[in-house]
Symmetry: C2
Subunit: 331 residues, 2 copies
């Protein structure tokens, strides 16, 4: 196993009893995004024979920050992943020797080379018998809404956004999920960046006045829109920008036209992503009316009161694909 520079991460293992022969072993499941990363440690299988239970018992759960390498860089993302897996194992009074499989579903896995880099890195950390599964986090998100079946479309809209779809015969397609530079305008980051842009435009005379100015400056403790420039670039983390979404939503609920426009543009972006995936995979069949699950997850789709972004997205998608069956898994 790898001797990590920050070796303290795995120090707890010296206090962990070695896995006994015949003991069940554990599985690590990681769901990593641009804001937070969750790792659960599950019992791998029951030691006695018999049918498997509907869900495997969860031994422990650990939470950490961003593990999207495109947002915080590869070193920070890996440190977060390693720490959250170690914490979950430590809480379960287990160790790497007991791990049978690791399933990592993280945002930022967009290409086979991303997958390969993470696999190589996992092999350095864990014993050679461990099985690895590395996927984009949207795969886990879809499975969370369909009881594990990979069929249908999932829309994630948190700090980032992606739409991912699977057919029953194994074809897949995605839209968006390319990060803020490449136009993910339906993401939490996209919504907040558009709102900040609207404040700058109102300030320098290129756009209409908006309540977003007062509301955003208040929450950030700034006194002038000029100060937003320094604030924005002081820390490039996507999650820090996306944390402004609730201010945009409340400004829209208070009737601010600019904030409402920002949200409606974001809704259409999210709808476009889902429709693009559904069309490419023909999830709604030849007549456009076939039923398919549409799993919707992420803070942008969940945390609203009167202005419900998720509901608006469903309304618009239903007009094009009446067979879309929205599922919102419990967080």
């Amino acid at each position: 196993m790898k001797r990590y520079r920050n070796g303290e991460i795995w120090n707890f293992e010296s206090q962990t009893p070695a896995a006994r022969d015949g003991s069940a072993g554990v599985i690590l499941g990681v769901d990593g995004g641009a804001t937070s990363t969750v790792c659960v440690c599950l019992v791998a299988a029951m030691p006695s024979a018999g049918p498997l239970p509907e869900s495997l018992p969860i031994l422990s759960r650990a939470v950490a920050g961003c593990s999207n390498h495109n947002s915080v860089g590869e070193t920070a993302a890996r440190k977060t992943l390693e720490e959250v897996m170690a914490e979950a194992l430590s809480k379960a009074c287990s160790s790497r020797a007991a791990v049978q499989a690791v399933c990592l579903a993280v945002s930022g896995v967009n290409h086979p080379t991303d997958q390969q880099r993470i696999l190589d890195w996992l092999r350095d950390i864990f014993p050679s018998h461990v099985k690895f599964y590395v996927e984009n986090d949207s795969v886990a998100a879809l499975a969370s809404g369909t009881m594990g079946k990979l069929h249908g479309c999932v829309l994630i809209a948190g700090t980032g956004t992606i739409a991912y779809g699977f057919t029953e015969d194994g074809r897949e397609a995605r839209a968006a999920g390319a990060g803020p530079v490449l136009g993910d305008w339906g993401s939490g980051y996209g919504i907040a960046a558009q709102a900040l842009t609207a404040v700058i435009r109102a300030h320098d005379g290129r756009g209409p006045q908006t309540k977003l100015t007062e509301n955003i400056l208040n929450i950030l403790g700034l006194s002038s829109p000029d100060e937003l420039i320094g604030w924005t670039y002081a820390d490039p983390s996507w999650a820090r920008i996306a944390a402004l979404v609730p201010v945009v939503v409340s400004s829209a609920e208070d009737g601010d036209e600019v904030a409402n426009k920002v949200l409606y543009v974001a809704v259409q972006e999210l709808v476009d992503s889902v429709i693009a995936v559904v069309r490419r995979l023909r999830l709604c069949g030849e007549d456009g009316k076939d039923p398919f699950p549409l799993v919707m997850v992420g803070g942008v789709l969940e945390a609203n009161k009167r202005w419900d972004i998720g509901k608006e997205v469903i309304n618009r998608i239903s007009k094009v694909c009446p067979g879309a069956h929205p599922i919102r898994p419990k967080p």
Copy 2:
């Protein structure tokens, strides 16, 4: 004087003869942007009495990379500024002891606190008698087109973009210059990011097919739009993205509709910035026809052949402000 961690920067001074009593001394002028930074070393004044010449003799010129702290971070930006000033002094066979004044005009100076931080840092580097002038680079750009007079409007469109204006009685206003997160869509970065976004959208079914896909992948040596995501976030430098502008321009010249749309949107953004400044300062007078200089600088406005972004910008501005007198200083 500061003992810099990277002390080698100023090592050359031990070989420089001390400034003689009565010698003229020198002035350092720095023009810093998100792609490159230029420092010139000038003779401060003629040792003999008499009228000043039209332009002060340039002793040396040094060129370095990005000095915008919002793009590359404060440490890298300061290192670039310090190195380019040292190189100019070294080439002029001079030293910090001979410096009478430093005029730093750098992009990323958006707020009095930005100015103050740079002033404090300069005081650490130079002897106590040196005078300092720290401004946004648009001030130097305007002066470069008006023979030093601060009146009129300047539009910079390089890696970044800003419009800055001054009235004859000293009022000033600006528009844009807030960086890519805050919507500088007329910048080189903005144009390239919109083109990259169009490639992603064509690829995942959200947008029309475009020649930009083949042209951009070719120039970057990539084989699929999926690889653009990794390429984009491998290095966050704004200049690296903006370097794709010539591909967008040539794609537009070849008749690609998507590339043409990207450029027309950018032109309108640049026009909006200038008009916002002109209106706030009433540079075109009560009847809208007063003459004023419009200085235009930066790679986006210069480097075009058939598709001339600068010319399009001037055409549209002239319709609103017929008194705008475009000036394109030699680079």
